[in-house]
């Protein structure tokens, strides 16, 4: 589990570092934002249906609702700005990391599933926050896109705290 978290974290670090050197454009940032949210919605849907733990199910439901809301805002904004999200190494890395996470989670059940899902959520939100602070917010050119990123940042902080809060009781259960 720990290894998977590290692999995901490393791949995201490398690609965000590469993106920082060049600086993603607004169309690429849009793709990163939409993909980041979608990946977490998909993991949340799996956890909401598979977990039997109240705290984990509630967390998963929150991820689905909040990230769906953020994506709706992001899509509305890029549509208004006439920006077409453009795939890039960071969005592709997020997507493949998300798929890998789902494959891994689908092979697990019970306490092992809960722990793997929540551990991944902690690592994932830490990485997304890091990318927001170091790459996405500084690189965003359009003022409204930058404002949206700044506006939704506290949601990622709250999700990270929430994930950490439910992570502790799950440790050592699997």
């Amino acid at each position: 589990m720990r290894l998977i978290g590290v692999v995901i974290a490393t791949s995201l670090c490398l690609t965000t570092a590469a993106a920082a050197a060049e600086g993603p454009n607004d169309a690429q940032i849009a793709a990163i934002v939409v993909t980041a949210n979608q990946v977490d919605i998909d993991a949340g849907k799996l956890a909401a249906s598979r977990s039997h733990t109240k705290d984990v199910k509630e967390f998963a439901e929150r991820m689905i609702v909040d990230h769906t809301g953020v994506n709706k805002s992001a899509v509305e904004l890029v549509t208004k700005l006439k920006v077409t999200p453009q795939d890039n190494p960071t969005s592709q890395s997020l997507k493949s990391g998300g798929e890998q996470n789902l494959r891994n989670l689908k092979g697990l059940e019970g306490a092992a599933f809960d722990k793997a899902y929540v551990d991944h959520e902690v690592a994932y939100h830490e990485q997304v926050l890091d990318a927001m602070d170091k790459v996405l917010i500084p690189s965003a050119k359009n003022a409204e896109l930058k404002a949206l990123l700044v506006k939704v940042r506290p949601a990622f902080v709250a999700h990270l705290e929430h994930a950490k809060r439910i992570q502790a009781p799950l440790a050592g259960k699997s």
Binding site: A155, A158, E161
Partner: protein, 120 residues
């Protein structure tokens, strides 16, 4: 005169229809009908924060919480003396504070969101 009637009548009908349908009155209407001493206060919910963090009101005042975030929040007092339940994005919730006291409240969906209502 005929011209005057023709323009006024549809307006009267529209007003009558609005009142019989029980459409929610706007803020202006509420202000006009409320007791002269009560005031309406607004708390904005934005970026997972209640603003202002501490609101002081008089008993009888109304507080409107407006959700500017793209996901739902709640306004839930400790001990549940008031609870909005989910306020959808872009929607608001109104509460008239009757009882004096200090009420700590939070969003049950995002417990890091905390604020205080002081009713004097």
């Amino acid at each position: 005169m005929l011209c005057f009637r023709a323009t006024v009548r549809p307006l009267l009908i529209a007003l009558a229809t609005a009142s019989t349908l029980g459409l929610p009155p706007g803020d202006g209407w509420a202000a006009a009908t409320a007791s002269p001493r009560s005031t309406t206060h607004t708390v904005v919910i934005d970026s997972l924060r209640f603003d202002p963090q501490v609101l002081r009101v008089k008993a009888g005042d109304t507080i409107v919480w407006v959700n500017h975030d793209p996901f739902p929040h709640t306004v839930t007092a400790e001990g549940k003396s008031f609870d909005s339940h989910e306020i959808a994005p872009g929607r608001s919730w109104k509460y008239t504070a009757r009882k004096a006291g200090e009420f700590a409240y939070a969003c049950v969906l995002h417990p890091t969101m905390k604020a205080t209502l002081r009713v004097e």
